[in-house]
Symmetry: C2
Subunit: 235 residues, 2 copies
């Protein structure tokens, strides 16, 4: 029996093989992976290698490996992709200008979304925006809840184009920028300011005015950024 692989990376072949089986639906979503002992027999490898393969698959986001449970196949969605980069992004954000750069892309993306919303939003989209806005308004006194509804309002913008990539990006932004936000002082006063900004954006979309929608949104996020700067200085 070939005890030693020729290429020097037997684990990678197993990773590839299992990844392929997942992609082809051979290992369906939600199903637990075969036990490590079975896999070692199946591939003719030691458990060491199996474990390394499982590890890799896990950090690639193709399986979900909770501590003492059987790894579960997780057919990756766009947000699994977001998870996979989380570690790197953390590093990047800790570098000077990192947060700024990320936030700038957020401004750019949401500006484009606001513009698109003003042009293409359906009646249902507008209704969803209105609902989110009202939920946001109802929470001005509860900063915790305001934070959630604030996010939800922005989230509606990401849903309007009906592209599943976008909500994943929204989740990425909120996840990665959360550390900054969670340390910021939350005051009903600020909530009211932000609510006003949300309403302005909503109005511009309602008026089908892309330029205004973009401008209001940029203004809103730029002010949010100014608050971050106030709290953290340069980041």
């Amino acid at each position: 029996m070939a005890q030693h692989d020729d290429s020097g990376r037997a684990a990678d072949q197993v990773v590839h093989s299992i990844a392929e089986r997942i992609r082809l639906g051979d290992l369906p979503d939600g199903q637990p992976l075969p036990p490590e002992r079975d896999l070692m027999e199946e591939y003719g490898i030691s458990r060491t290698v199996v474990r390394e393969a499982v590890r890799t698959l896990s950090s690639r986001g193709l399986i979900e490996a909770l501590p003492r449970h059987r790894p579960v196949v997780r057919k990756p969605g766009f947000d699994a992709a977001i998870d996979a980069v989380g570690s790197i992004v953390t590093h990047l954000l800790s570098e000077p200008g990192g947060v700024r750069n990320l936030f700038d892309t957020r401004i750019m993306v949401e500006a484009a979304l606001a513009r698109q919303a003003a042009q293409l939003a359906t009646r249902d989209d507008i209704a969803a925006l209105k609902e989110a806005l009202e939920a946001n308004a109802a929470a001005v006194e509860d900063s915790e809840e305001f934070y959630r509804t604030d996010n939800a309002f922005h989230g509606v913008l990401y849903q309007i184009p009906q592209n599943p990539v976008l909500p994943a990006i929204h989740r990425a932004y909120t996840t990665w920028l959360a550390p900054q936000w969670s340390q910021m002082p939350r005051l009903p006063e600020r909530n009211r300011t932000n609510l006003g900004a949300h309403k302005a954006i909503y109005d511009a979309i309602l008026m089908r005015d892309p330029d205004a929608a973009e401008a209001r949104l940029r203004d809103h996020l730029s002010k949010a950024w100014a608050q971050v700067r106030e709290t953290f200085g340069d980041v």
Copy 2:
């Protein structure tokens, strides 16, 4: 001595610790990781765990682990992040509508970039665009070269905002969408069409007309998409 960790995931702690040391510059970029034997002693763990940790760090993109070499610390750039998701994205693109969804975000992003370019491009930016356009024009008869210069032209758009995240995104798009493109028929005729589109975009930016720039760009990429559809049908 505590032979078994209480949490059930000693490796993750090691991963976190080493990641932190990399982030803080304790393990500088380009330096090889300490030998596995040293790490096991340092952390008081077995080699099994060390290896799993190294594996994880590697697939997270924080170190580069060539087959039989010492893993090398690789302070991740934005494009290391792109690598990390490659595996998942492959899966996503193989599903119906996957390529379409990704390409739509590209249209959205580049539309925003074109708009921004029309508003904010400096003289140098315009010069860079012009240069890229001329290189593109010089390559109409050489489809291979035209492909490269085409990419480069779009790449300039991603460079204008001076945000390092954006070029990484451009690389991501070209990498992930390359499989489709590389199988498409390349004809000087099509090259000329695309060149004309590029020129139209350039002109709009030169005229400082954001609406026109966005419109020309959307038109350009939509036609490119139509060609993809022609070649592959629904993807």
